[in-house]
C-alpha cells in the first residue's frame, strides 16, 4: 500500500502564489469594462467593475508580495492550480456581475461567470436586451479570457520563464506542443486570435452595415460577436441571439468564425506554414467530417420528414448553422429554444444532442468529448475487432495521423475511452438532477445536460433566471468539469484528500 504524503506549507505557498497571478490578470481584464462604463456614464456598473477589479488586484497583489517563490511547479501543482484558477476566477468574476443587480442572487452571478470563463454561453441575466455597454463588454471579454486559457495567458505574462508553466499548459487539455517553448506557443495562439480578431470583426462590421446597422452599433455588435464566436462561447448582446440580425451575410461570417475557433491551434499552425494536407490527413478532422456529415444528413431527413422546412435555404440557415454552432461548441441560436421541442420532430434534436456531445477539436477553445477522442475510441473498437478476427499469433498494429503517423497505444486508447465515459456519466447525472424536479421531460433534460456538460450553450429552455438553485449549482459544476476535462479536478480532489489524510513529511 502506497503512503500518501501531506502537502507542505511550501506547496500551498506555491499554489497560492500562482493563483494570485490569475487574480491579477482578472483584475486587468476588469479594467476594460470599467473604462467603458466610465466613458459612457454607466455609473452603477462602473462602481461594480472598480470594486471587482480592486478585489482581484488587492488579493492578487497580496499573494504576489507575501507568497513569492522561485520553486518550480510540478505536474500536481499545475493540475491543482488550473482547477482552482477556474473556480476562484469564476468567484471573483462573479463579484461585479452580482453588484450590478442584474442577477437574482450570488449563485446566478457565479453561474454566469463560470459560463463565460468555460466558454459555455448559457445565460441567466435579467433583461439582456437592456444591459449596459460595459456589461456586454465584460461578459464577452470574460469568454475571450476563458477561451484563450486565462491561466496560460496570465502565467505567460507574469512568470519568469517558459519552462515553469509547462505543467499548467498540459492540464488545460491542450495536448499539442505546437512550438517547443510554451511562451512561444502562447504567442502563436494570440497571433492567430489577433489575426482573426481584425479580419472577422471587419467582415462582421461590413455585414452588419449592409444589414442596416449604423457604424457605431455595427462595430459594437461585430466585436462582441467575434469574441463569442471565435472563442466558441456563444454569449449574445441580444436575448434572441442570432435571430436578432436576420442577415445571411452575418450568419455566414459567424459560421466561418466558429469554424476557425473550433479548429485546433496545431492545424492553424499547419495552415500558416503551407501544410493544408495536414488538415485533411488528421484523425480529428476526418472524425468530425464523418460525424458532422452523418448528423447533418439526419437533421435534414428529420426536418424534411417532420415538415419543418421544405427548401435548401432554411435547412442551411437554420439546420446547418445550428449544427455548426453545436459542433464548434459555440451555442449561437437561430431558433427559439422551444422550437427544437415543438417544431423539429424527434430525429433532428437527437442528432443535435449527438453533435453537442462530441463537440469540437482538442487544442482549441471548443468543448465536448472532442473529435480526437471519438476518433481514437472508434480506432480502438476496430483494433479490438481485428484482434478477435485475426489468428492469435498475428501482430495487430493500428495507426492514425495526428501531426505525424502514430501507433495506437493501449494507454492512449484507455485515456480516450475513460474520458468519453466520464463525459457520458456527467450528461446523465445532469439530466437526472433536472428530471428530479418534475418540470421537464427526459428530452429536455438530456438536451440541456449535454449542452452544459460539453460547454456548448444551446438551450432548450431549462436554463433561465428562474431555474431551481440546486440545478443551477449542478450545472455550474458540470461546466467546470467539462472545461477542465475532469483530470485537473480529480487531481484537486486527490490533493485535498492528501491534505486531510496524508502523512506529514519528514
Amino acid at each position: 500500500m502506497s503512503i500518501i504524503l501531506r502537502p507542505g506549507a511550501d506547496d500551498l505557498r506555491l499554489i497560492g502564489f500562482y493563483l494570485g497571478k490569475v487574480l491579477l490578470g482578472l483584475g486587468l481584464v476588469l479594467f476594460v469594462p470599467a473604462v467603458v462604463a466610465l466613458s459612457f456614464a454607466e455609473w452603477n456598473d462602473a462602481t461594480a467593475f472598480v470594486i471587482g477589479a480592486s478585489a482581484c488586484l488587492i488579493v492578487g497583489g497580496l499573494t504576489d508580495a507575501r507568497l513569492a517563490t522561485r520553486r518550480p511547479l510540478t505536474w500536481a501543482h499545475g493540475m491543482v492550480i488550473v482547477a482552482l484558477a477556474w473556480l476562484l476566477g469564476a468567484v471573483f468574476a462573479a463579484i461585479p456581475l452580482y453588484l450590478t443587480g442584474r442577477f437574482s442572487d450570488p449563485l446566478a452571478a457565479l453561474f454566469e461567470a463560470m459560463s463565460a470563463l468555460t466558454t459555455t454561453g448559457m445565460s441567466v441575466i435579467h433583461d439582456l436586451d437592456h444591459t449596459s455597454l460595459s456589461m456586454d463588454t465584460y461578459r464577452h471579454l470574460l469568454q475571450f479570457a476563458g477561451g484563450q486559457g486565462i491561466v496560460i495567458v496570465v502565467l505567460s505574462l507574469f512568470a519568469a520563464g517558459g519552462a515553469r508553466i509547462a505543467s499548467l499548459y498540459v492540464s488545460e487539455g491542450r495536448e499539442d506542443h505546437i512550438l517547443p517553448s510554451f511562451v512561444r506557443t502562447s504567442r502563436f495562439i494570440f497571433k492567430v486570435a489577433a489575426t482573426f480578431l481584425v479580419t472577422m470583426t471587419a467582415a462582421l462590421f461590413v455585414a452588419l452595415l449592409t444589414a442596416g446597422f449604423a457604424p457605431g452599433r455595427a462595430f459594437y455588435h461585430a466585436i462582441n460577436l467575434f469574441f463569442s464566436s471565435f472563442d466558441t462561447g456563444g454569449f449574445s448582446v441580444m436575448q434572441t441571439s442570432m435571430i436578432y440580425y436576420h442577415s445571411l451575410a452575418v450568419e455566414v461570417v459567424v459560421m466561418v468564425t466558429m469554424l476557425a475557433g473550433t479548429m485546433s491551434f496545431a492545424l492553424h499552425f499547419a495552415l500558416w506554414n503551407r501544410d493544408p494536407r495536414e488538415v485533411l490527413r488528421h484523425l480529428e478532422t476526418r472524425t468530425l467530417a464523418i460525424t458532422t456529415t452523418a448528423f447533418f444528413t439526419i437533421i435534414c431527413f428529420g426536418l424534411l420528414r417532420a415538415g419543418t422546412y421544405d427548401a435548401t435555404e432554411p435547412l442551411i440557415r437554420k439546420g446547418f448553422f445550428t449544427l455548426i454552432s453545436a459542433v464548434s461548441s459555440t451555442g449561437h441560436q437561430v431558433n427559439v429554444g422551444t422550437t427544437y421541442l415543438t417544431d423539429w420532430g424527434t430525429l433532428a434534436p437527437a442528432a443535435l444532442v449527438g453533435a453537442m456531445a462530441i463537440g469540437g477539436m482538442a487544442s482549441s477553445t471548443a468543448g465536448g468529448i472532442k473529435g480526437m477522442r471519438v476518433g481514437l475510441a472508434a480506432k480502438t473498437l476496430v483494433h479490438d475487432i481485428r484482434r478477435i478476427l485475426l489468428p492469435e499469433s498475428a501482430l495487430v498494429v493500428t495507426t492514425y495521423h495526428a501531426g505525424k503517423r502514430r501507433i495506437l497505444r493501449d494507454d492512449t486508447a484507455r485515456a480516450a475511452t475513460t474520458l468519453l465515459l466520464l463525459f457520458i456519466a456527467t450528461y446523465l447525472v445532469g439530466a437526472v438532477v433536472a428530471l428530479a424536479y418534475g418540470q421537464w421531460d427526459i428530452t429536455e433534460t438530456l438536451f440541456e445536460a449535454v449542452s452544459v456538460g460539453s460547454n456548448i450553450g444551446i438551450s432548450i429552455g431549462v436554463v433561465s433566471p428562474e431555474m431551481p438553485s440546486a440545478l443551477m449549482a449542478t450545472y455550474t459544476v458540470m461546466m467546470w468539469l467539462g472545461r477542465l476535462e475532469f483530470v485537473a479536478v480529480f487531481a484537486l480532489a486527490g490533493y485535498l484528500f492528501s491534505l486531510a489524510r496524508g502523512r506529514a513529511r519528514g
Binding site: 512550438l179 517547443p180 459560421m255 466561418v256 469554424l259 495552415l271 500558416w272 456529415t293 447533418f296 435547412l315
Partner: protein
C-alpha cells in the same frame, strides 16, 4: 520548428486566414449540395 519558419508574420497570417476561408467555403458548399440532394429525394 525553426525560427526561420516563424518569420514573415504577415504573409503567414494571411495564408492562415485564406486557408480557413477556403475550407469553410468547401464545408458550406458540401452542406448545401447535401441539403439540396435530400430536398430533391424527399421532396
Amino acid at each position: 520548428m525553426s525560427d526561420r519558419r516563424e518569420g514573415r508574420q504577415a504573409p503567414r497570417a494571411a495564408r492562415g486566414v485564406l486557408w480557413v476561408l477556403v475550407l469553410s467555403a468547401a464545408v458550406l458548399l458540401a452542406a448545401t449540395a447535401l441539403a439540396q440532394a435530400l430536398v430533391w429525394v424527399m421532396g
